[in-house]
């Protein structure tokens, strides 16, 4: 009966296109779209040079070479106007006497920083600016320290001692700083600083697949009035019919998962077949969940609306669009109980470690099946 139903479903070209290609197309388009948003996003910050000294120019030049932040050189009035319109994140002002203060070793409050309560990137930008200014202040501090120690140990100091010590300290940054980071993302070597995509394509595929499962499960509502009554009189009965239709859909979705995995492997180079296992478990959960949701609903319109909101909500908390669990421990704890959590492991973990996620998925399938049977019993 399952094979017959599969044949019937495969005769509907629109359904076949939807099941097999829509999640794939949706994943590829939205994944590249989100990657583009992420890579092209910039933090606009204004730099105001009121000192016009060598040091302030040096800091401004070095900052403007930073790729992740868009540093704009503006005058104070322009910068304040842009901040008022919320067009920039913050203003870093090098006031008159900046160089003199730094040379004298008075570093406290040497840069004026203007922010808005809505500035979300100030902390990160402040670190970037501070690292450039600290380089200068350390040069000055080292030169001052050398001059002081020469006095302590009664060493004759030449007229250029301070400058020499300053230059010596600064030269240690060339050609490379004393300390750098060699970053590797679990097996993939990254020599250059580049963006790592925050949203994986497998979690995004999970969102589209769940959405589509909900759309294709509307048969449960549409066939309820007429077909279900007839099915009760058949030899296999209504439960047998529901079981076979759900199983037929599950088989098609597992096939879809196989095709998607093959394509992801070809396009993005997925590393482990463990991911395929998680995808297969996930689609079965999706079919069970959507069939249950449809069995609870009486009307197609309200079912569509509720399913859209539920799928979007579950996908957001489950981390399909963005790894929200990494932002808060509470969300992380909640997301561990959602099937979407299975798909977050782009690099498959051993089964012994994700037993919890697999157990949750199996429990979810059992609960949905039980509730479907319960709901079908009440159909008269």
């Amino acid at each position: 009966m399952i094979s017959e139903k599969i044949k019937q479903l495969l005769k509907r070209p629109m359904l076949v296109i939807m099941i097999f290609f829509l999640p794939l197309i949706g994943t590829i388009i939205s994944s590249s779209f989100l990657a583009k948003v992420q890579s092209d996003s910039k933090i606009p910050v204004a730099l105001v040079d009121q000192d016009h000294s060598n040091m302030s120019k040096q800091v401004m030049d070095r900052l403007q070479k930073t790729t992740e932040i868009q540093f704009l050189s503006l005058n104070e009035e322009q910068a304040r106007k842009e901040l008022a319109k919320n067009k920039i994140d913050s203003i870093f002002m090098f006031p008159n006497g900046f160089q003199q203060e730094v040379e004298e070793g008075n570093y406290q409050g040497v840069i004026d920083l203007l922010t808005l309560p809505s500035s979300v990137a100030t902390e990160a930008v402040r670190e970037v600016v501070a690292s450039e200014v600290t380089r200068l202040t350390t040069n000055v501090k080292a030169a001052n320290e050398v001059r002081f120690l020469y006095k302590v140990y009664n060493i004759h100091a030449g007229p250029d001692l301070w400058k020499e010590a300053y230059r010596y300290t600064d030269n240690q940054w060339k050609p490379k700083p004393l300390m750098t980071i060699d970053y590797e993302a679990q097996g993939t070597k990254h020599t250059k600083q580049g963006n790592v995509q925050m949203t994986g394509y497998v979690p995004l595929w999970g969102f589209f697949t769940l959405l589509l499962c909900c759309i294709t499960s509307d048969w449960m509502i549409k066939e309820r009035r007429h077909l279900f009554k007839r099915m009760k009189t058949m030899q296999k009965g209504l439960y047998g019919y529901i079981r076979s239709v759900s199983a037929a859909y599950a088989v098609l979705y597992v096939l879809q998962a196989l095709i998607s995995f093959a394509l992801f492997k070809w396009l993005y180079g997925v590393e482990s077949y463990g991911v395929l296992l998680y995808m297969c478990i996930y689609v079965i959960v999706c079919v069970a969940f959507s069939t249950w949701l449809a069995s609870e609903s009486q009307r197609v319109g309200s079912y569509y609306m509720i399913s859209v909101v539920m799928v979007t909500g579950l996908s957001i908390i489950g981390g399909s669009f963005f790894p929200v669990g990494e932002l808060s421990a509470t969300i992380e704890r909640i997301s561990q109980w959602l099937p979407q959590h299975l798909l977050l492991y782009q690099h498959a973990l051993p089964l012994t470690f994700i037993w919890k996620e697999i157990a949750v998925s199996i429990a979810c399938i059992c609960l949905c099946a039980f509730k479907i049977v319960w709901n079908v019993r009440s159909i008269k």
């Binding site: 919320n86 920039i88 350390t138 700083p177 970053y183 790592v196 932002l327």
Partner: protein, 407 residues
């Protein structure tokens, strides 16, 4: 006209009869956005804005110098976002494989010797790909921490090199070296004091919560409009529609009646939503309450008209459901509902120029103590133009359909 009024009344009654679905339409998105709001405000509370994550540190050199470097790397603000775990290489790799750490930092053998002699020996950092946000954040802070360590070390090396050049005794040099470790270490740790910070609270908004409250309220109007059309399409089943058509009821009548019914039912809910936001969160209103009412009702009408256009273009419920959802997601991302437009790429401004959501957000920000130089009508005008445009296009398309059906 009589047909229109009777049909509107009929649609209203049909929607109210299906009260369970109507309440779900209003409550589920509201609760969903409330949850999202709580999540965002929770993550915005601490300045670290990320869940504190464990990082494995492997010190293969194990000297006083490496201990100082580790202290430099893990102290200060870094301590707020990460929990350092001191372990060996094998155990660290095991922890990474089990997804228990966000990254591993390895200080190689001979690190202290090289850094003291001005030789660069990079720290090896392995990020956990299963924790992309935390590992990427850790990478950025490590790069910044490496710069600070370089700064401090360059100062320490300078002092030592100049004393060595002048043949200062080893005992004194060692004493000065120890002193330098402390003074230069403290110097870079004190980098926060470089800034004299002022927060301009009089501009734009009072805090980020206000931004997200208004942004999500606007998104709620959009989702209600989208869901409303899904519910409205249920009110007239195919046999009812067929009967209506034989009695001279046109498609235009049906869609106009549905639009009016949805507007009549959703407007009081929207007013209650904004009223409770003003009351509960004490949001300051710039203009008059009449202006605010006009703004909210105009925005709701514009969203309903926009989804009417989408509804008539995609007569199949499934097609409308998918396109509508994608449209909402796209608008939420690019119009500034999730991330303020200032942080979005330049090319997104092309979308924002034509996006109704951007206009509605601008209007709401004006209404709640926002830009104080212009009038509300200036912000309402593009919203009403969008509403009229969508309405005219939708009606035109429906009339074409009607003509085809008659033929």
């Amino acid at each position: 006209m009589k047909i229109y009024f009777s049909l509107t009344l009929f649609t209203c009654k049909a929607l109210l009869k299906n009260i369970k679905s109507l309440i779900l339409l209003i409550m589920i998105p509201a609760l969903f956005l409330l949850g999202a709001g709580i999540i965002i405000s929770q993550t915005m509370q601490g300045e670290e804005r990320v869940n504190r994550f464990p990082v494995a540190i492997v010190d293969k050199d194990d000297t006083a110098q490496t201990k100082y470097v580790i202290e430099q790397l893990t102290e200060g603000k870094l301590r707020k976002i990460m929990k350092p775990l001191y372990t060996n290489e094998q155990k660290a790799k095991q922890l990474l494989q089990q997804n228990k750490v966000a990254a591993i930092v390895t200080l190689p053998k001979g690190f202290s010797h090289d850094i003291a002699h001005g030789k660069n020996q990079p720290l090896h950092v392995i990020g956990n790909s299963n924790k992309p946000l935390q590992s990427q954040l850790f990478r950025y802070v490590m790069e910044s921490a490496a710069d600070y360590t370089s700064a401090a070390q360059s100062g320490i090396n300078t002092v030592d090199a100049f004393l060595e050049k002048e043949n200062v005794s080893d005992k004194n040099r060692r004493a000065e070296f120890k002193k330098s470790l402390v003074t230069f270490g403290l110097h870079v740790l004190d980098r926060g004091s470089l800034f004299d910070e002022q927060i301009e609270t009089s501009f734009f908004q009072q805090d980020m919560k206000q931004y997200y409250v208004l942004s999500f309220a606007a998104l709620l109007l959009m989702i209600w409009s989208y869901g409303g059309w899904l519910l409205a399409s249920e009110t007239q089943t195919s046999p009812v529609l067929a009967r209506m058509k034989t009695r001279g009821v046109s498609f235009v009548h049906i869609y106009l009646a549905q639009l009016t019914a949805l507007y009549v039912l959703l407007l009081p809910v929207s007013v209650v939503l904004f009223g409770s936001l003003i009351k509960e969160l004490k949001l300051p209103v710039t203009g008059t309450y009449g202006e605010l009412f006009l703004g909210v009702s105009g925005s709701l009408f514009a969203f309903l008209c926009l989804f009417l256009l989408l509804r008539v273009l995609f007569l199949s419920q499934k097609a409308y459901q998918i396109t509508g959802l994608l449209f909402i997601l796209l608008s939420a991302i690019l119009s500034g509902h999730v991330v303020p437009v200032v942080y979005l790429p330049d090319w997104a401004s092309g979308f924002q120029k034509w996006s109704l959501n951007t206009r509605v957000l601008e209007l709401l920000f004006y209404e709640f103590d926002g830009y104080n130089t212009n009038e509300a009508f200036l912000y309402l005008k593009p919203i009403l133009i969008t509403a009229t445009g969508s309405f005219v296009l939708a009606v035109g398309y429906v009339m074409t359909l009607q003509r085809r059906w008659r033929k």
